[in-house]
Symmetry: C2
Subunit: 222 residues, 2 copies
């Protein structure tokens, strides 16, 4: 059975890709959407190596509105578990799931995998279970295929924190050295070690008693 | 008040644009999505002249799957009011509304206009009221703005047939000579007169005792 897997090149989607592979033939889908860290896309290509991988160009910079796609400084050490962060991108998961839906319908796949998680994901509204359930309804009302063979949005990490996600990945031998989480990597892909994404990632490895296999430009003092 | 208006350059969205202008400052949004009729986009530019108009590149041809984006012949005289037509594009309105949602959130607009209609729209699943209601729910669960200021999907043509849509446009002096509906226009924009879209359009003008102001390459015998 085929499944479309949204693959950013980050730790979460790399884990989801490994989970999806257990029961499906994964069709990876990534976006080049004007993100400042093109390095993430290189990671996605490595993770999906040997499988079908579509990269769709979708430049959202014309709209502005997020630190990930414009020139706002990426906040360091600002993690607040109760607030929607400045790195929120308007309607991002709605857009990504919509295009994944078109891909899935075209290849006749009924399952869409997404690495959303609602536990320590900084309160992104489009990572919550109620959002994903609502999108599943849209998928089944708004497509030809959905009217007869329902789509299922599969978010296996939804209720996991970063440490649990890493445990799931380690069980499946995910190579986290070819993943990228940093919001502000250097040109050669070195992570900053200080943004929300780096902070959560480092805490996740630490909680498992593991060393994060990627390199940080801040050095070992963390 | 601002509103985002999905504007294809066709008769329906030109009418919606005129309706939206009555009560909102319209922000037009069009897509260059690998459609074979770039002429439609030129029409959209003319209709939106004097207003903000974003054209987003989104090439869906990699997925294939529709006569509008690939090399399948466009069917002529095939209109069947009970079937989903070959011109169905997987998840098209879901994708367009998603990107419109991002645009709306960025400019702080709460209203999204779409020219969907469910009466003689050839049974596209993503033109039905239940689909639009489900998408509105997604918009309000999946965005930062939607959590506090709800979005509203406005489809003023939803329960109109083509003749009624044209009446609404004529009341508002819509210039239908700069619209394009044909699925298979010639390079200089002449409509074929035989595809589903031309058939419905011509019937709509005829039912109002009007002459369609655009040119058809089949000549006057229709």
């Amino acid at each position: 059975m085929k499944a479309v897997v949204l693959l950013s090149g980050g730790l979460d989607s790399a884990t989801v890709f490994a989970i999806a592979k257990e029961n499906y033939t994964p069709y990876a889908l990534s976006f080049s959407y004007g993100q400042r860290h093109g390095f993430e896309l290189e990671c996605a290509r490595k993770i999906a190596k040997g499988f079908v991988h579509q990269v769709i160009d979708l430049d959202l910079r014309a709209f502005g509105g997020s630190a990930l796609t414009s020139d706002i400084d990426v906040p360091k050490m600002s993690y607040d578990p109760t607030a929607i962060p400045i790195t929120y991108v308007p309607a991002r998961n709605t857009i990504f799931l919509s295009i994944a839906l078109a891909f899935a319908e075209t290849i006749n796949a009924s399952t869409l995998f997404i690495g959303a998680h609602a536990v320590d994901s900084s309160n992104y509204p489009d990572c919550r279970p109620e959002f994903l359930a609502a999108f599943e309804k849209v998928a089944n009302l708004g497509t030809k295929k959905g009217l007869t063979t329902p789509f299922h949005i599969c978010a296996p990490l939804l209720m996991m924190n970063k440490a649990q996600i890493i445990q799931e990945g380690m069980k499946r031998s995910v190579d986290y050295s070819i993943t990228s989480s940093c919001y502000d990597p250097s040109h050669n892909g070195l992570a900053c070690g200080g943004c929300d994404a780096c902070t959560l990632r480092l805490e996740g490895f630490r909680a498992n008693g593991l060393q994060d296999p990627i390199s940080y430009r801040m050095g070992p003092c963390r």
